[in-house]
Subunit: 506 residues, 2 copies
């Protein structure tokens, strides 16, 4: 994207040291900032981003090739996400406060009073993604969750949209400063060297990342190999399998075919939840609908030249694999500016061809390409998951409205063993930002499938528990004091331990 990106100067070692020192200094101050103040700062950032939409969106369009409507929607999502975390902070449930009352008659002898709460980890290094220049970048979900948790953010800018990144960062910094947040609570760094050096620095206490499996594995290994290892939350790759039954085809085949192409084509398929494989009945009769829909999709620019090159290679490999039948060949061209442009490519393979060509076919193709897998009639679907699916962010079942069988129940069980979100009907693209969302799944979808990067549970990645034993109010964090109001707490009353186990056997 050299022709469309503003230059962003790489962070020097001296600058990085200043950033790390400022983040470490800001950490206790931000952690001690009252939750209402932190929440107001998040809302202020949300409002400032929306107020600057007309400045930011055109820069994003230039640098990423994404459409105006998509970017305006994404900016709104980014603001809504900041506001959701603001409410999460004020609500306080995320602190998981637990209080054991002192109990002289505890089953194992006298029990002390214990008050447990989650506390911020400290500075977090957040590697921005290329494919969501707002929602998974400078002011995106990770930044919102990190700030909400009470941790400073060191944001490693993605080189795919440097101009937008720096413009967004200026908006964020101004809004935080005006809200009274301490200096150093949000800072950006530029360049791969600075990112890797920061990940190794002892002042950085956690990392978050959205990007390729290759880069994510390298960074996860660095985080794990430190003298003091730190948690690293990487979202790496997912092919999001979809299973369609014959009954579903009968009831709504045409809608499935057009919905599928829409989900593959949106944002030129550069979404981590793009459906990469659709297992459907042989001779389902949907080829023409799919081809027509795919051929109606206008050319869409790809995010950057690395993604164009990667997509070209995956597409060539797939098209060159024996047994692959082209339904819609789509296009891929590089223009005079070096930008890649593509329309959807949809192919089909038999189960046998998939089995033979698995090493060429099963990896993610990041871009507007998807593979239909044609399943012979009466083939049990559940075993296909173990045979062909690694870990995924999502998995989807299209079945008849009332359809039910042991195989389908087993299939849903297998899908939930291989994905973090399992859909009935619909398509996995378009991730709702809500309290119950799960965006994370077994490796290689994420490095840590006990976490999510979307939804309110994302905040827990940046917290750890501390229990205070017999601690007087004057030394407790405010949320644990006897006069704390409105903080949800799970209280274990004195005397209860004598009955432990009776609930289980009643």
């Amino acid at each position: 994207m050299s022709t469309t990106s503003s230059p962003a100067t790489e962070t020097t070692p001296e600058q990085l040291e200043t950033v790390l020192a400022a983040a470490a200094t800001a950490a206790p101050a931000w952690a001690a900032t009252p939750s209402t103040t932190r929440a107001r700062a998040l809302v202020a950032v949300a409002d400032a981003l929306l107020a600057h939409a007309d400045d930011l969106v055109p820069v994003g369009m230039r640098e990423t090739g994404l459409a105006e409507a998509r970017l305006r929607g994404e900016l709104l999502r980014t603001a809504v996400q900041l506001r959701l975390f603001a409410d999460t902070v004020v609500d306080g449930s995320y602190l998981d406060v637990r209080i054991d009352e002192a109990d002289p008659d505890f089953a194992l002898g006298a029990r002390p009073e214990l008050r447990r709460v989650l506390v911020p980890l400290g500075p977090v290094l957040n590697f921005a993604a290329s494919n969501f220049p707002f929602a998974f970048s400078v002011a995106g979900g990770d930044t919102a969750a990190i700030l909400a948790a009470g941790c400073p953010v060191i944001l490693k800018v993605h080189d795919g949209h440097p101009g937008l990144s720096l413009a967004t960062a200026a908006v964020v910094e101004d809004a935080l400063r005006a809200s009274g947040a301490p200096d150093g609570v949000f800072q950006t760094i530029v360049g791969q060297d600075a990112g890797v050096t920061a990940l190794r620095d002892e002042r950085v206490r956690a990392g978050s990342f959205t990007g390729s499996l290759r880069a994510g594995r390298i960074l996860a290994d660095i985080a794990a190999a430190r003298p003091v290892p730190i948690p690293f939350f990487g979202e790496l790759g997912s092919v999001n399998p979809v299973f369609v039954t014959g009954q579903a085809v009968e009831e709504s085949g045409e809608a499935i075919a057009t919905g599928f192409v829409g989900s593959v084509a949106g944002s030129a398929g550069q979404l981590c939840t793009k459906p990469g494989f659709v297992y459907l009945p042989e001779a389902a009769g949907l080829d023409d609908t799919i081809r027509t829909a795919a051929e109606a999709v206008p050319e869409h620019r790809l995010l950057n030249d690395r993604i164009t090159a990667g997509y070209a290679e995956r597409r060539d490999t797939i098209l060159g694999t024996p047994g692959v039948r082209v339904i819609a060949e789509g296009s891929l061209r590089v223009d005079a500016d070096g930008d890649g442009w593509a329309t959807p490519t949809i192919v089909a393979v038999s189960i046998d061809a998939l089995r033979t060509g698995r090493d060429r076919l099963l990896d993610e193709a990041f871009g507007p390409l998807s593979i239909l897998v044609e399943v012979p009639a009466d083939t049990p679907l559940a075993p296909l998951v173990a045979e062909f699916c690694e870990g995924n962010l999502t998995a989807t079942l299209h079945a008849g409205a009332e359809e039910m069988s042991d195989d389908l129940v087993e299939l849903v069980g297998q899908l939930s063993a291989h994905a973090g979100r399992v859909l009935f009907g619909g398509w996995p693209t378009g991730v709702a930002v809500t309290p119950a969302m799960q965006h994370g799944g077994p490796w290689p979808a994420t490095t840590n499938d006990s976490s999510t990067s979307v939804g309110t549970a994302a905040i827990t990645r940046f917290l750890r528990p501390v229990a205070f034993q017999n601690m007087p109010d004057r030394f407790l964090p405010a949320v644990l004091r006897s006069d704390a109001v409105g903080i949800p707490a799970a209280v274990a009353p004195a005397g209860a331990s004598k009955q432990w186990g009776e609930a289980a056997t009643a």
Copy 2:
């Protein structure tokens, strides 16, 4: 302990394959077992252990040198812990169920229905500890949490108490079988090779460990370097600093001195929460009380020859460090059977001597040794934490009943930044098994300070979230269906998103 331990045959590669296959087979069956059945099985194990106390305790005494009262108390703790997890399973809060109602008027467009729940990870490899032959071994806290979570256990027996391990395992297996638990839900393996091979096996989905920093780091690195990395929860080492103010010495110096020696001497100091460093005022005048109390402690056998050798080396190093003043030299001898026996060794150093000798002094001494650090009057205490303390399981403050200062507030803040449990008064040994307990802390106390190995929150280590989107009841896990009763759930009602952020700015 060759003279006192029963032989335990190392698991062969063929046997290990059988164990791994059985665990993988048991995983979906145990995960699908209703929570009440799982809970009853845990209670049955608890009852069976207590019923076999007279068989098990003497074996434990022979193999570990621990006293009868300690082992009977520990067995009761182990049973109570199983019962606590039984109630945890029945209660269902641990599932963190979240439900977003479908919302056509969601802030970002129509929102699907989402139902999120935590599901079991699959087979977990649990490395038993030597120092709690019941509570952190075969049927200990990790086993209870793993089974409660719905995961099969592969228990790597500690070679310090092989006879007790196999006898305990037989009790556990019988109780589980009688409760209808699937075959393969609890199995033991013997030998370091089998443990390492299992940790690398793709069927194993998580590891837990209590032991040395050296071994724990090796295992954590293996878990992180797998083609598919898995979570590894290791409890490694902790020196549990204690800070005593002059006011505390004035108010209760004698009680602090005798309480300190009791905490160091118990179980011959072979506890992960033993207070290894006590920062107290210079010339506090407690030397005689400490010496008298320490010299009154009878000789106690050490757990095994590795621990004897390690303790001898650490003790020699500390006693040979310039500036170390002996208060009670204690004893350490190896008897004709090769067993080590010790009485408490208490030494004192100045701040300056600690600074000069930090490389020799700051590491954990696993055994009945503790170091008093003599702090000149008017020295701020809070900065000592950053200078001398790494991560710890616990940290303790003894201050006056009404004492208060900015330095003490800052000290408690520093202690909570360096430990998972912060005590006011009392001693860190004797960990209560309760809902609010936190037993885990920053590296090197644990590999993962967002987790605990004691208390109900320990169950979450072995679970991951799955969200079901628009999924009909017939395909949902029972706890998520519309007719599920008694499962606590956080519901996000339709319409609420329009007000997100208002709570924060109200």
